[in-house]
Each structure stands twice: as C-alpha cells, then as structure tokens.
C-alpha cells in the first residue's frame, strides 16, 4: 500500500467510479473479465462471449440516465446483451457504459408516438429484473427505434419468439471450455459439483435407518422430484408409491439433511391432501412415524409448516391442508408465518420503488419499513433458526413443508442446512446446496424468473430464490467470518440467475433439465465461478475454522436484519459506499505469510547447517 490509499484518494476514486454505470465495476459480475478470455475481440469496446453475435447497432441513441441526464452515444444489441457507450464530450471524461444481459430484461416498451414532442420523449423503456429501468431516446426521423425494439424483443424473449436461450449458443460455440480445462481439472466442472449419492454418503446415508432409492429414476413417481431420494429404511418402494398419493403433486417427505451425531433429520415435502373433510391416510401417518423412529434421540417429530396458519387452513378448501396432531402420533406442528410468492413479489416491487432510481433520504427508514421486505426476511430467518433449534438443541427430526414444497420449503431447508452444516458455507458446499435443495427438488426457476418469455406480469413470477440469497447475505453479515465466499459471490449468483448465459438456473425441474440435456448443451455457472475462485473468497474465513461455534444462530430481528444495499441500491452511483474492510485483512495476511515463508527458509538453512555440524562432529569423534 502506498500513498494511493490516502483518504483523499479514496474519495477521488469514489467519485470517479460513481460517474459511470460501468458494469465491470465490483458491484456487478456480468461484465467481468473472466470467462470471456477466449471470446473474440472485435472493433467494439466489450469482449464478445463465445456465440455472441451482433444483432443491431445504432450510433445516434440517447441514454436518459437518471443520474447524469441524457447522454448521447452508440447502442449495440447482440443475442446476449444490450451495450451502450456514450461519446464523451470532453477528452478526459470516462464514457458512460450500460451493459445489460438481455436475460435481465423483464419488459420492453415503446414510449412516445409520432406526435410526441419534447426532447427524449420518443424511444424505448426497458424494465429489468435486477431492480433497474433504462430509457433510451431515439430520433423520430431516422426510424432507428423500430429495429432496436424488434431485436430486443426477439433476443430478450426468445421463448416467446420461438428462439433459444443464449446459454445454448454460448456452449455450442465452445464457451467456457477453455476456462474449464485450464483450471484445476475435472473436479471443477460445475455439472459435476453435485453428485446425489456422494452427498448422501457425506451425510452418512445409507445407514441403519436410511437408504437411498432410485424409485424415481425416470421421474415417473414424482415429476418434480430428483431421481435419487433418501428415505427411511423401513419404507419399501411399494410403500412409498402409496404415500405419494396423499401428498400434493406426489412430493412425499424425503431426506434433506441428517445430523452427523444425533441423526436428527430434516425432511421436506408438500402439504398432505387433507381437504375440507379432514381425510386421513394410514400410510402417510405411518411414514411420518418411520421418519420419527429413524431418530433414536427423540420420540417426537416436529412439522414446520412454512405458511401462516390461516393460509394452511384455507388450503383445505383446495384439497390441501396440514397434519393434524390428532391424526399423527407424536407429532407437533408449527406454523412459520411466511407469506406466499405473491406477497413477496409485491414487497420486492416496493423495494425497487424505494431504491431506484432515487431514494428519499429523509424518509429512508420509513420507506424501507413499509416495503415489509425486512420483515419477510426476518420470518424466514426465524423459521430457519427454529428448525436449527429443534434439530441441534432438541435432537428432534423436522419435516418442513408449505403448499407445494418448492418455494418456502426450499428457503427453509436450505437456510437451516446452511446454519447447521459448515460444509454448505464453503463455495463448493454452497453450490451443492443450491443444486440439491433448489434445483433437484424442483424450485420452478423457469416460472419464477420467467427466462426468455415476455409475460412480465405472470403471477408465477416471484423473487423466492433472491430472498434466500438475501437471507444468506444476512447471515453472512452477522457471522462475517463464517463463510468461505464473499458478497461478490452472492451477487454473481443473482446476476446469472437472470442472465441466461449459463444452464444452471434454466428449466423448472430435474426431469426437464435431463430432457433438455443441459449438462451437455449448456455450461454450468459453477464452472465459471470455480475457474476464477479468488475473487469470490472471503479473507476472514480462515479465522472461522479456528474453533468458533459451528452452528450459526442468526438474530431474527428487524434490529439485526439490514437492507442489502450492495445489491438493491447498486445502480445508483451516489449510493455506492466505498468498499473497505477486507483490504487491511489481505495486507496483514500476506505480511504474515511472507514472514512465515522467510522464517521457514531460515529454519531450513539453519537445520541443514546443524545437520552438517552433527555429521562432522560424529565423523570427528572417533579421532578423540
């Protein structure tokens, strides 16, 4: 570190970066230099990804920047991104750059008609899934808007225009193959990160009480479940087929995690089909009893119904419901009060309203309060901590479900596993966690995100997964040194949740992914991340392994939960706080390593010397 880190410079660099929306800045991962190394360099300012093709280019477009006002420049549209670069008026001025993957776009709209007057009132509005909106103004007379609009529609929503998502073109053109082979070897292939049987083995399955079954290998028993399940040994495959009947969409309770010592388990499922008449099913009741009995430490089984109790009751009208404590022996049921996907979508919309394009500083806290987003996050954290308490403190097995068992259930199981098991707090383990709890158990990413389709107001869209990532971030803020990865890792995941560059988050279920052969026809996000791991690592993590408590119990209070400004407010250059903190840690770490190395060399030298000495004395001794 030299003088460049003086506070004056810190400020200078802050203002410099705040003047551009350059997405290669650290708040975004999309334009990152990595992964594009073997892309071709053309006569354009950005590096084309493999398979990325120009679709349209216009040189006389105005980007109506909410912070700097209108800026004039060139707009390029490829099959992957929208790229705008301003033509600086002055020599020294850095150009303003907007670089948005088309997958991020939720909606494109024309503004202004033939009659519109006034500057910059004719053009295109773009609404993004990542909390920003963009407005480009075109000149009416040169008809540049039409092709831009059409190309945007066609390439941002390929599924609505019988096209294919960019991930396929990217992989077909060899994208990522170079990075994959250049890195540490096959172990870092993202598609190989999660092996269901290997992960079960890590958890200790099979054992006396649990077995793995490939009953669903062809996805015929439950089309939204993975091929491999871990179930109580006492339940035969035939028996399982019967239990499936009583669970919504056939999603019967299946093992998510097992405590290495007490063997208390977390299992997940959908709601039982109790209905208004309060139906009972002896197989289902017996099956839950098997799950309870598989844990010798407790004679109770806890069911965590993620929903508010009123919703659980209301679901009976639709044939669903919850396990009654009367019908199920030794079962206690808790309602975790987490609201449904529609409530969450509305809440995030309000967050966007509060954060973009500008914030009202005088009412900041009240505005955030009224989005209820932090309350929802608190609920999820509180639910996860309750599960942790049951499993860790009471050694009681827990069954988690909501209605379908693929939204709130995934949030809760994944989060509680993350709190219980330090493995999931490593980069590799977190990738496994997402592959397992979210992807293999059928969180409907395609529906919830709406990859490549233009139905922006689809009621199935919801930021459920984003909420999970936010919860993970909250935990990482409370336990700063408990995670191997940093905030940038989480933001990268969120960015590529939308970008459609990688195959990881495409499709709704494992069955669909197998049918689409994503493993071979697209690249995994994890391949991309694992090949440039350094930038995703948390320098404080080494301190955690030094005996700190392994089970995390974050504080689920709005007093302790914060709005993730680094994610939600990152497009507003004025709100980007300078990143600090870890710089000093890195310096100290490298100083320590340097000294260790130096010491080691000296010790080796002196050891050699003393060894030599010893040999000489030994040789010399007979002379005496």
């Amino acid at each position: 570190m030299d003088a460049s880190s003086s506070p004056a410079d810190k400020m200078a660099s802050k203002t410099a970066s705040s003047n551009s929306l350059d997405s290669s800045s650290k708040s975004s991962s999309l334009g990152s230099k990595h992964g594009g190394e073997n892309g071709m360099m053309r006569d354009t300012p950005f590096i084309y990804l493999d398979g990325e093709e120009d679709q349209d280019q216009k040189n006389d477009v105005t980007y109506v920047c909410p912070y700097r006002g209108p800026v004039f420049g060139a707009l390029t549209i490829t099959n992957y991104r929208l790229y705008f670069r301003s033509l600086p008026l002055r020599e020294q001025e850095p150009p303003l750059i907007v670089d948005v993957p088309l997958g991020v776009i939720a909606r494109v709209e024309k503004i202004g008609g033939a009659t519109s007057r006034g500057e910059n009132s004719y053009g295109i509005d773009i609404f993004c899934k990542d909390m920003r909106n963009l407005r480009f103004a075109h000149k009416q007379q040169n008809h540049s808007r039409r092709t831009v609009f059409e190309k945007l529609q066609a390439n941002a929503f390929p599924l609505s225009y019988s096209g294919r998502l960019f991930a396929f073109a990217h992989a077909a053109a060899g994208g990522g193959s170079a990075t994959a082979s250049s890195s540490a070897g096959a172990g870092w292939d993202g598609w190989a990160v999660y092996e269901p049987l290997a992960e079960l083995r890590r958890l200790g399955v099979p054992n006396d009480m649990w077995r793995a079954t490939k009953l669903n290998e062809s996805y015929s028993v439950c089309d939204s479940y993975p091929a491999v399940w871990a179930v109580p040994k006492a339940a035969s495959d035939d028996f399982l087929r019967r239990v499936v009947q009583f669970r919504s969409r056939g999603r019967l309770p299946v093992l998510s995690w097992m405590h290495p010592k007490s063997q208390a388990t977390i299992t997940r499922s959908s709601q039982p089909l109790v209905g208004l008449s309060g139906k009972r099913n002896a197989d289902d009741e017996l099956y839950l009893n098997y799950i309870m009995e598989a844990n010798a430490q407790s004679d109770k089984l806890t069911i965590m119904d993620a929903r508010p109790s009123a919703n659980a009751v209301a679901n009976k009208a639709k044939g669903g419901g919850y396990e009654s404590e009367g019908a199920y022996k030794n079962v206690e049921i808790n309602f975790l009060d987490i609201h449904n996907i529609h409530v969450m979508r509305e809440s995030l919309r309000k967050v966007k309203e509060a954060c973009y394009p500008t914030t009202d500083d005088s009412k900041w806290q009240t505005t955030i309060d009224s989005t209820l987003w932090l309350k929802h996050i608190r609920c999820i954290l509180a639910g996860a901590v309750r599960i942790v308490d049951k499993v860790e403190t009471m050694s009681t097995s827990v069954v988690v479900h909501c209605s379908d068992g693929w939204d709130r259930t995934a949030q809760l199981t994944a989060l509680s596993m993350l709190l219980l098991d330090p493995h999931y707090r490593t980069v590799r383990g977190f990738e496994v966690l997402i592959e397992k709890e979210w992807l293999s158990f059928g969180h409907k990413f395609q529906q919830r995100i709406g990859h490549g389709d233009n139905k922006h107001s689809d009621a199935d869209r919801s930021p459920v997964f984003l909420q999970f990532i936010d919860s993970v971030w909250q935990v990482s803020q409370q336990y700063v040194n408990a995670f191997e990865f940093n905030e940038h890792f989480l933001i990268t995941i969120v960015d590529h949740l939308y970008s459609c560059r990688f195959g990881t988050f495409l499709c709704n279920t494992e069955a669909e992914r197998v049918a689409e052969d994503l493993k071979h026809r697209t690249i995994s996000l994890w391949t991309h991340i694992n090949s440039s791991l350094d930038q995703y690592l948390n320098p404080l993590f080494p301190s955690f392994t030094h005996g700190a408590e392994l089970v995390l119990r974050p504080i689920a209070s709005v007093r302790a939960v914060r709005l993730w400004k680094g994610l939600y407010c990152r497009w507003n250059p004025g709100l980007c706080m300078p990143q600090h903190g870890c710089q000093r840690t890195r310096e100290l770490l490298s100083k320590q390593d340097q000294l260790f190395k130096h010491t080691n060399e000296l010790r080796q030298k002196s050891n050699n010397r003393s060894n030599n000495m010893q040999t000489t004395t030994r040789l010399a001794s007979p002379m005496h």
């Binding site: 659980a312 009654s324 206690e332 700190a548 007093r559 000296l602």
Partner: protein, 824 residues
C-alpha cells in the same frame, strides 16, 4: 379421527418470540437445577452476600429481591410465582450505586469459579456487573402490588400497563405496596427487580419495594452537586498520565493552547488566560463574564476590547479560536449569539466577525448558523428518549411489537436524522477550511452543538485527533476546556422542589452522546483511520456517569475550581483509564485495523521538544489535575510567532463523511448491549477484531523470532500453515498444574478480578514458552457485544490473552512494523 375443516390451529401458535432465541447460559439466570435458593425460605442466607463498598461508601437501604434480565422471556400461563427466570439476591442502595448481589447457593461454594472466560469481559474496578451508579439512573418506575393472589412475577409481566414513574424532585410519598421496580439508565440499560410478596410468611419482607424506591428517589436525584459521592470519596489520586511520549493535552494551561496554535500554524491569534487579566480578577467585574480560564482571540484585538465585545454575547462567548488548517491556516472559530437584549443591535457581532475576518489570510470567512439548522438540545433529548425506548423494551411482546415496525419507529426518533445533520455540517465546515476559508460556528450559547460540529470537523481534517491521545485532547479542548455544560446536560443535578425545576429539566440533553454516535459512524465508514475502537467510545459514554472522575461532572471551570477549593474534591481525569479498568480492558480500546501513519508519533514528539522554551510545563505527578488548575501563568500571552509558523497538520489525510441517513446505522454495541436477545453468539465485529489481533500477534511473534534468530517461540499458526507438528517441549507436563489464581469472594461471587492482570500475563507467557499441545488454536466464542454482553461458558481464554497481549504490543509500538507503507 377426522378433525374437520373448522378446526382453528390458533391454540397451536407457539410463542414465536422465544423460539428463535437460543436459551442463554447467562450469568444472571438462575440455574434450574439448583433451585434450592429460588425460594428464600432461609433469610439468613440473604444477608450473607454484601456488595463491595468503596471507602466512605454507605448502604442506605437494602432488601432481598429478584433480578430479571431486561426482556426475560417468561413462560406464559403459569400462575405460580416461581421466579424461575430471575436471580435471587440482595438489592442495595448506597450513596454511590445501586447494587444487586446474587445469592450463591451454599452447595456450589467449594466448586471452581465460573467460566474463566468471563474475565475477558469488561469489568469496571468500581462497579460490578449488576451495579449501576446513581448518576446513571434516569427513570424509576414502580409497579404496584396487585392484591394478594397476584404474584410478583405477574406484576413484572404486566408492567407495561401498571407502571408508574417516580418523579425526581417531588418528595412524594410512595403509595401502596411495590411489587417491582423498573430502572432505566442513561446508558440504555434497563434493570428489573421484583420483591417478595407481603403475603409470604417471611418476616421483614413487608415493605422491601418501598424501602428501595424511596431510597432511590432520595439519593439518585441529588439537588446539589456536592451531594454527589465524588465529594465523599477522598482516596488520593496518583496520575499515570504524565508519562513522557504519552500525552493528552488537557488545555488547562496556556501552554496547551499555545502548542495547538503552533501545531496549526495559526499566527494571527493569541492565548489569553483569565487569571492574568486584571479585569477578570476584580471581584466586582468578574461576575459579568462567564469565560473559561484560557481562550484564544484575534491578535489584532486587545484583551480589554475583546472583553467589552464579549459582554454582548451569550455566556461571554465571542469568537474563540479552536483550530486552523492548511497552508493559509484558515481557522475554525466558535461564536455564541448576541444576548437577547442586544439582538437588535448587530454592531457588536459585525465588529467581532470583522476581527475574525482580519485573521484570515484571504480575508474570507463563512459563518455557519447552527441554531437555525441543527436540532435544539430539547430536540436531541426527545430523540434520545425515543431511541432509548426502542432499546429498552420490558417484555418480549413489546420487543416484537417494536420489531414489527422497527425502522419506522427508528425514523420517528429522529436520532439518525440529527446524526446526519451533524455530519453534514461537519463536512461543510471541513470543506470550508480545506478551501482556505475561515469558518465560524455560531450557536446560541456556543457550548452545545458548537462542540459537536467543531470537534467532528477536526476529526475529519486532522489524523492526530483520530489517535487515542489526540481524541482525548480534542474532547478536552472542545468539550471540557470550552465548557460544555455536562452537569446540566447529563442531569447530574436535579432542580430543588419548588424551584425552577421545569427549567432545569429542559436542560438535560445528551449532546455528548450525539457526538460519540457521529464518531462511531465515522469509525464504521473509515475502519482503519481511528486508533480507538467502538468499545472505547461506549466506555466513554459509560464513564460520563462515574462521579469520581471529574471530567464530565461540571458545567464550568469555575464550578470545578470551587469544588476543589471549598469541598476539597479530588480531581481525577477520566482519561486515566487504568483507574477504572485493568490492562486487559484497556487493550480493547485500541482498534486492530488502525494503520498508524509513518511518522505520526515522532512528529508529535518533535513538537513537544520544540516547545521547551522558557515556560513551566505542568509537571506530572500526584494530582496533576489540581496542579494544572491552580497553576498561574506569569506572562500575559504567548506569542506564537516566536515559533515556527508552518502548520504541521498533514493536508492529505482528511476524510469526507457519508452523511445521509441511508449511510448511517444504529450503534448496536452501545444501545443494544443490554438486550441478550440481540446478541449474535460467536458473530459480529468482535470475531473479526479478534482475527485481526491474532494476525498482528502472529506477525509480532515471527518478527521477534526473526530479530532474535531464534525459532523456539513461533506462533501456532506458523506450524499450522506449514502442516508441521509443533515441537513439544519438556515443560509440557507441568502445563496442567497451572497454579490456581487467587480467588476472591466479592459480591458473593468468586472473582479473580484483582489478580487478573498478573494471571493473564502468567498465562500468556506460559502458553508461549511451554508450547501448547493444541495445534489448532481454539479461539473462544464471543458475544457480539464483546467486551460487553454476557460471557459464554466453557472456553479457555489463555490463548486469547496471549493474542491480546502480543497484538497490543504491536499496536502500541512506535516502530515502523505497522506503518501503513511497510505492509504491501
């Protein structure tokens, strides 16, 4: 069984509050297994445990009581008063403190002391964990007994509705029986006590609550300052502050001001000492002025003329210089507003400003009106009270209610808004000075928000003030020397009954806390720019309520001087932290992320040397505080032109604060630390700090090994990094036979407070010389409020001691190892 769709699951709703809060092994909670002492059937036990008393400290009332954790989640629905969540013990009111001493069950007496880790948490040498000074007590609420069947437990639970505030100054007779007391402290602590019911068969329990309550009302709200314990406590004070090289400028002498003038390169200003101005020594006239003993005024103005001008201003505060910055030495000046009577005639103000303008190199000044644009002291007080309400919920239900709309409630307090205003103004003032323009801060009396903005401005501009010594000098200069009315603002004294208590009440306002909060925000924004830690700032706020340290006890120097001369008060500066804390506690005052700049220390020492010009410097020794006060200066003024005129303040190290509410956070350590439910066990900043201390410690140890070319004492991390086994030395067998530290029975709890530093040192050396078995150092799991909050049982602290001692050595070292530039 078909349950049917109409079944409502409401009865199954579990209490969501307790569910996510891990059961705490807190030291206050009674151990459920040893409930033999829950029910104090044998009252003789109660009197077995006594609070530790200072010299001349006297117990004025005592009673057996149950102490509750602030929002102890209580089992709902049980009717029996079992006090399972409470600790039973003896509650005493003395002339110094309110003390609760838990009653230890006899059976555990012979057992080893509780977790040694608790030794690491902050312990005040004057106060135990369950004790608060009377100064700290702000509000007392009584909860009336509800009748024969209701339990004290019940009373505590329903407290919200039935509690009644005891007014400080009214000698009210307390009606009815008191089942419980809630005591709200100025430092955000809520204490809850419940008393044995009258219908119990015990003797002497009849009026316990009333006895304590009336003693508190009498002693916690003194109507005169000389009723404070400080006047009774006559232990002599031997300063340890005067060590060469260390140094807080007390600004109690002309020299201190002169030194600052020289350091800033301010040549147009002169120091005036009241003691050397004949007019101010004249009994007839002196009463017209309320001037501090030393102040700095424009050189172009004679003292007589200045005094003449000052009479037009509130509190005689006409244009005091406090700081200059930059090559042109643009000055920061504090100014009061004109007296209400003279406000029509702004001539005096114009003349004063003109004098200031002449001092500026470019003849430019900018006046910042603080009164109009910043909150009044009443606003600050209201914000503080609302904020404190959010931090002292009495029940889990209240906590959750607040939590549900927490941010909106926080917004309504306006506290962060005021913090934001202060930072904004400090930014403005700092940038004015940076642009080479003199900045005048004007406020009604020039002694409240002026202190905040002025000291923040200097913190932003000058790295010296970001060191511990520098910060203490800054507080001494801006707050103590220029007379922030601490006594009134912190309500050390309450108005007499029938007197103008309404007026006095409106004078209470934690302006100083507002300042500390602003500093904390800066610490969050620039974590490596400050030598002190947030623990230091929190401890500083706590120290405001320690009456035996005079720093924050007075409104003016005249008051202080009178207390010394008339009441023989012993002065003890709060900056002598060793008086209150052990070395271990002082270690946590330093910030492990701080990057000392090359030359910071030597530069200051050079200035010290350059000043040794013919003036008597205040000598360090016993009672230097008194000495410096009474020290008289023979010369009329000191002329800085005799010295170098160039400012030695570096100009490339200023900070710009992020000042929007968006950028601010709640100072959780200070405000939330008494709420165990918000304690992230094993998480939060302390773990990160600890990691950095460990790194520093490793670096220091390896460095020492390299220097000595001896590799016997390498840190464990070294062997771990190399995957090597640490060579096990022969002394290892004796490792387990560590002599038991001397036990001391205080407050009925075994403590090892006194012997702690030596034990720590012994342990530290033991672990380094003997070579520990554990290859992987097991760091302890800390509270996220560490060193506040409650200890967690079960970990061995010796490694921590070791890390602390060697890292602190490094932080305090003046060598260049930790210089910013030496680590790349």
């Amino acid at each position: 069984m078909a349950t049917g769709g109409s079944e409502m699951p409401d009865h199954r709703k579990r209490n969501t509050f307790t569910s996510y809060v891990a059961p705490l092994p807190g030291d206050l909670r009674a151990n459920a297994d040893t409930n033999e002492w829950f029910v104090p059937s044998d009252l003789r036990n109660v009197h077995w445990a006594k609070p530790r008393l200072l010299s001349n400290e006297q117990v004025v009332a005592e009673a057996p009581a149950y102490m509750y954790s602030p929002i102890a989640p209580m089992e709902s629905g049980d009717k029996q008063p079992d006090h399972k969540e409470a600790t039973f013990g003896l509650l005493s009111v003395t002339n110094f403190k309110l003390a609760f001493v838990p009653l230890q069950p006899r059976s555990t007496l012979g057992l080893p002391a509780p977790s040694p880790l608790s030794d690491l948490y902050q312990e005040n040498l004057y106060l135990g964990r369950n004790e608060v000074t009377l100064n700290n007590i702000d509000q007392i609420y009584t909860i009336a007994e509800l009748g024969r069947t209701a339990s004290a437990l019940h009373a505590v639970r329903v407290a919200g509705s039935k509690r009644k505030k005891l007014e400080p100054t009214k000698q009210q007779s307390i009606q009815g029986r008191i089942a419980a007391l809630h005591i709200i402290c100025k430092n955000f602590r809520l204490l809850k006590f419940a008393f044995q019911q009258q219908d119990s068969k015990m003797s002497g329990s009849s009026d316990n609550g009333k006895r304590i309550a009336s003693a508190l009302v009498r002693f916690a709200y003194p109507t005169r300052h000389d009723l404070s314990f400080a006047y009774v406590y006559r232990e002599p004070y031997y300063s340890t502050l005067g060590k060469p090289g260390g140094g807080v400028s007390m600004y109690a002498s002309k020299n201190d001001w002169a030194r600052e003038l020289i350091r800033c390169g301010a040549t147009e200003w002169q120091v005036v000492s009241a003691s050397s101005v004949p007019l101010l020594q004249n009994k007839l006239h002196a009463g017209k002025y309320t001037l501090p003993p030393h102040f700095v005024i424009p050189k172009s103005c004679t003292v007589e003329r200045f005094l003449d001008l000052s009479r037009a201003f509130c509190d005689s505060r006409a244009a005091f210089w406090v700081y200059s910055y930059g090559s042109s030495a643009a000055s920061l000046v504090r100014l009061a507003e004109l007296q209400p009577a003279t406000q029509q005639d702004t001539k005096m103000e114009n003349v004063t400003l003109e004098l200031v303008r002449k001092c500026d190199e470019h003849k430019k000044i900018k006046v910042l009106q603080l009164t109009e644009n910043l909150p009044s002291i009443q606003d600050v007080q209201r914000a503080y009270q609302k904020l404190r309400r959010l931090c002292t919920p009495e029940t889990p239900e209240k906590f959750m209610l607040q939590d549900d709309k927490y941010l909106a409630l926080l917004d309504k307090t306006n506290w962060l808004l005021y913090v934001s205003y202060c930072l904004k103004y400090a930014n403005t003032a700092a940038s004015t000075l940076r642009s080479g323009t003199t900045c005048v801060l004007q406020e009604s009396n020039g002694r409240d928000l002026c202190c905040v903005i002025s000291s923040l401005t200097q913190l932003l501009l000058d790295p010296h003030f970001r060191t511990i010594d520098g910060f203490q000098s800054l507080v001494q200069k801006e707050w103590v020397a220029l007379e922030h009315p601490f006594q009134r603002r912190l309500a050390h004294v309450y108005g007499t009954p029938g007197g103008s208590d309404q007026l006095l009440d409106s004078e209470q306002s934690p302006v100083f806390l507002l300042f500390l909060d602003c500093v904390w925000q800066l610490l969050q924004q620039f974590p490596d720019e400050f030598e002190f830690s947030q623990t230091y700032l929190t401890s500083l706020w706590d120290a405001c309520f320690m009456p035996i340290f005079d720093t924050f006890q007075f409104d003016t120097h005249a008051q202080r001087a009178r207390a010394v001369s008339e009441s023989k008060l012993v002065l003890r500066p709060v900056w002598d932290w060793g008086e209150q804390f052990s070395d271990k506690d002082k270690m946590f005052f330093s910030n492990p992320l701080y990057q000392r700049q090359r030359g910071d220390a030597s530069q200051i020492q050079q200035q010290r040397r350059s000043l040794a010009v013919g003036h008597k410097l205040s000598t360090s020794g016993p009672a230097s505080g008194v000495g410096s006060l009474s020290m008289s200066m023979n010369r009329y003024t000191i002329n800085p032109q005799l010295f170098a005129t160039q400012s030695t303040v570096p100009q490339d190290r200023f900070l710009v604060a992020a000042d929007r509410i968006f950028d601010l956070a709640v100072w959780d350590q200070c405000y939330y630390r008494w709420l165990p439910v918000l304690d992230i066990r094993g998480g939060g900043q302390p773990q990160v700090d600890l990691f950095h201390r460990m790194l520093l410690s490793n670096i220091a140890k390896v460095q020492r090994c390299l220097d000595l070319q001896s590799f016997e004492e390498l840190p464990d991390a070294y062997y771990e990094a190399l995957g090597e086994q640490r060579p096990i030395s022969k002394q290892l067998q004796h490792q387990d036979e560590e002599p038991e530290p001397e036990l001391e029975y205080v407050d009925g709890v075994e403590r090892r407070r006194k012997s702690l530093p030596s034990t720590a040192a012994a342990m530290a050396t033991a672990s380094t010389t003997n070579g520990l078995v554990s290859v992987t150092p097991q760091l302890s799991t800390l509270s996220s409020f560490f060193p506040f909050g409650s200890p967690i049982a079960g970990d061995a602290p010796h490694q921590l001691y070791d890390i602390l001692s060697s890292s602190t050595e490094l932080l305090l070292e003046t060598s260049s190892i930790m210089d910013k530039s030496s680590i790349v």
